[in-house]
Subunit: 417 residues, 2 copies
Amino acid sequence: MSGTLLYAQSGGVTAVINATASAVITEARARKVKVLAARNGILGALREELIDTSKESAAAIRALAHTPGGAFGSCRVKLKSLEADRAKYERLLAVFKAHDVRWFLYNGGNDSADTALKVSKLAAEFDYPLTCIGVPKTVDNDLAVTDCCPGFGSAAKYTAVSVRECALDVAAMAETSTKVFVYEAMGRHAGWLAAAGGLAGKTVDDAPHLILFPERPYDEADFIAQVKKIVARVGYCVVVASEGIRTADGKFVADAGGGKDSFGHTQLGGVASFLAGRVKDQLGMKVHWTLPDYLQRSARHLASKTDLDQALAVGKAAVQYALKGMNATMPVIKRTSDSPYRWKIEPAALEKVANHEKTMPANFIRKDGYGITASARKYLEPLIRGESPPPYGRDGIPNYVALKNVAVKQKLSVWRG
Amino acid sequence: MSGTLLYAQSGGVTAVINATASAVITEARARKVKVLAARNGILGALREELIDTSKESAAAIRALAHTPGGAFGSCRVKLKSLEADRAKYERLLAVFKAHDVRWFLYNGGNDSADTALKVSKLAAEFDYPLTCIGVPKTVDNDLAVTDCCPGFGSAAKYTAVSVRECALDVAAMAETSTKVFVYEAMGRHAGWLAAAGGLAGKTVDDAPHLILFPERPYDEADFIAQVKKIVARVGYCVVVASEGIRTADGKFVADAGGGKDSFGHTQLGGVASFLAGRVKDQLGMKVHWTLPDYLQRSARHLASKTDLDQALAVGKAAVQYALKGMNATMPVIKRTSDSPYRWKIEPAALEKVANHEKTMPANFIRKDGYGITASARKYLEPLIRGESPPPYGRDGIPNYVALKNVAVKQKLSVWRG
C-alpha cells in the first residue's frame, strides 16, 4: 500500500508494550506497509526524529515481542487543547505530510488517546487523509471501555508472585526476625496492582494479610491494630500498600514520609517505608519493606501469557483498523466469558476512551477494606494466567534485543517548539 | 539404618535452601534413614519442636525443591561458646539422645558451621556417637573454602536480570522523565550481589553505569560527578549500590538516611533512598530507586539452574558424609574449570569454615571503583547460568508447596532456656 504508518509509544513503558510494537510492525510488513517509529514518543514526531523500522531484521522484530522497556523511546508529554497547542498539532501534521504518513498509531493511555483524537480532528480540518488509532497500554489498568489494559496483567503477575515469595521468606524467619513486611505497589489513583497482590493468597490467614487501597482512607490506629492482631494470630503479617493511599483528609501518606533530614537533605520516602516506620514505632516489631518501583513494570521475565497475547492482539488489530480507515478508534479487549476466560478484540471510539478513567469497582474490596473479594479474583486471575518467558542466553540473562533505530533523513527545518 | 537424622535451617533463607532440604530427605529416604526437621532452626532443637518428615508425600518432597523460603522455619540465633552457652549445648544433646539423633545436618552460614562444630565437640566429650555436618547456604556468598554458596547464584541472577530490565525502562523514559535510577543490593559486608548487578551490562555505556561496593569508601562528590558525566554521555544513569557502603570514616551510608521526621516518627532509610535524595538535591534530576529487599532472596521463579543444582548436590552429599561418619565436615563446591564451567562437591573441615568470612577479591573491582572486572565476570557468570522455573498453577502463580509439618511427640520436659 502506498503511504507510511507512524507508530509511537507514550507514557510509562511496560513489560509488553514492545510486544505490541512487534505485532504492529509484523502485521504492517505482511501488508507491505512501511512503518516509521517516532523516537521518544510524540517528541520524535514533533522533532521529525523518525526511525526506519525496515532496517530491522525479522529476527529483531520477533525478539521485540519478548523485550521490556520501550524500544523506540517513550515520553511524558501531554499536548493541550487544539487551541492552546495549535502550533504543535500543525507541526505534527507537517511532519506527517513530509513523510506521507497516512496512519498514525499512538500506543499509550488516556492522554495518548486524547492526542490521537485531536490529531485526527486537525487532519480533517485540513483535509489531510489520516487515520488515527489509539493502542491501549498501561500498568495502571485505568483505561475506559477496554476490559483490561495490556501491561497490567504482567505487572499484576509480578505483584502476586513476588508477594507470595517474600511471604514464604517472612514466614520462615518470623519467630526470631522480621514479623511484618510491607510491599509497595504502584497505583497513584486506583488500587488495581495492590488488589493483584491479593491473588498471592486464598484464605484470610494467607499473605497478604492486609491490603491498603487508595480507594479507602488510611486509618493509622486501625491499621496498627490490625497488624498487631494478625501477628498474634498468624505469627507474622504481610501488607501490600498502594503508593496512592491517603488519610481521611485527602493527604497522600507517601508525602508524610520524606521531607528533609537534619542536614537539610531531601528524604525520599514512600508508603512502604512510612508504614514500616509506624509499625516499628508503635509495635516495636522488626519490619522489612520493599519498593519494587520500575521492577514491577519491566519484569518481562515474569510476563503473563494472557497479557502478552493481548498486547500482540491490540497491535495487530490496530494495523488492521488503520488500513480499513477506522479513524479515531482504539482496539480494546472485550471479555466474553469469565470461566473459561475468553476475550476478543473490538473497536471503540477514541471519544469514549480519551480523558476518562476507569476506577476499581467498589465490590472488589472486602467490606473491612483490607482485602479483595471473589468478584475481584474472578476479574483478576485470568489476567495473570500463563507464562511466556523470554529466551535466555549463555550468560544467564534474557536475550533482550537492542534495535538499530536508524534515523530517517529529515526533510523539514528544525522544530523549536 | 538405625538412628535418626536431624536437619535444621539457619539464618536468612534463600530461593533454594528448600532444594537442599528436599535432597537431604530424598537421599535419606533412599537409604532408609528417618529424617526429623527442627522447627525454626536450632530453636526447635532446643525446644524439642521436631517435625516428622516421613509424614510428607514423595510429591511434597519433590515440590520442596522448587519452593522458596524455609519450609521448616529458620531462625537468627547464634549460640555462644561452649562455656558461655553450655546449658544450651547440653540441652541439644539431651534432645538428640531422646530422639536417637545420630546425624545432625545444620544448613546455614558461618555461625551454623560453628554451632555444628561445637555440638560435635560436646558429643565427643560425652561419648555420644554423633556426626555433625554443616550444609552451606547464604545469599551473601561469604563462606570460606567453598567456591560459592548455594543461594547466592539465584540472588545474583535476580539482581542481574532485574537491573537489565529496569535499565531498559529507564532508557526509554529518560528524555522526559527519570534520568537516574538506583538499585539497592543486599550485602552488608561484601559486595558480591552488587557485583552480580554488573553482569546486566557488557560495555561501559551499558547499565549499570556505576556500582557502589562496600569494599570502597563512598565519596559523595565523586559519585555525583560520575552520575552527572554519565547522564551527559549516555542520557541516563543506572546505579547499583550495596546496602553496606560506608564513607571514608567508616559510617554506614544507610544510617545517614533515616532518623526521625518532624513528627518524631522513625524514618527507615536505606542506601538507595539516600543516594536518590542526594542526586535530586545536587543535580536536580528526576530519580527513582528500588529496594528489592527479600524479593531478591526469595525469587525462586528466577532461580539459577547452576545454583539449584549445587543446592541439591550439597544436600545429597551431606547425607552421604553423615552416614559415612565424616564428622565435623561440610560439603563444599570446588570449581574445577572456568570454561567450560565445571564443579564438584568435596568435604571441608568445619574448622576451616566456622567463623571465617570470604571477602571479594580486590581484582574483582575495576580500578575506578565503580564496576566489575573480567575476573569478576569469569567467576560470577557461570553461577547465574541456566533456568529452572517452578511449575505454575492455573492461577498464574507457582505451585509452591506447604508441608504438613507434623510434630513429633515430645519426650522431655519443657525447655526454659
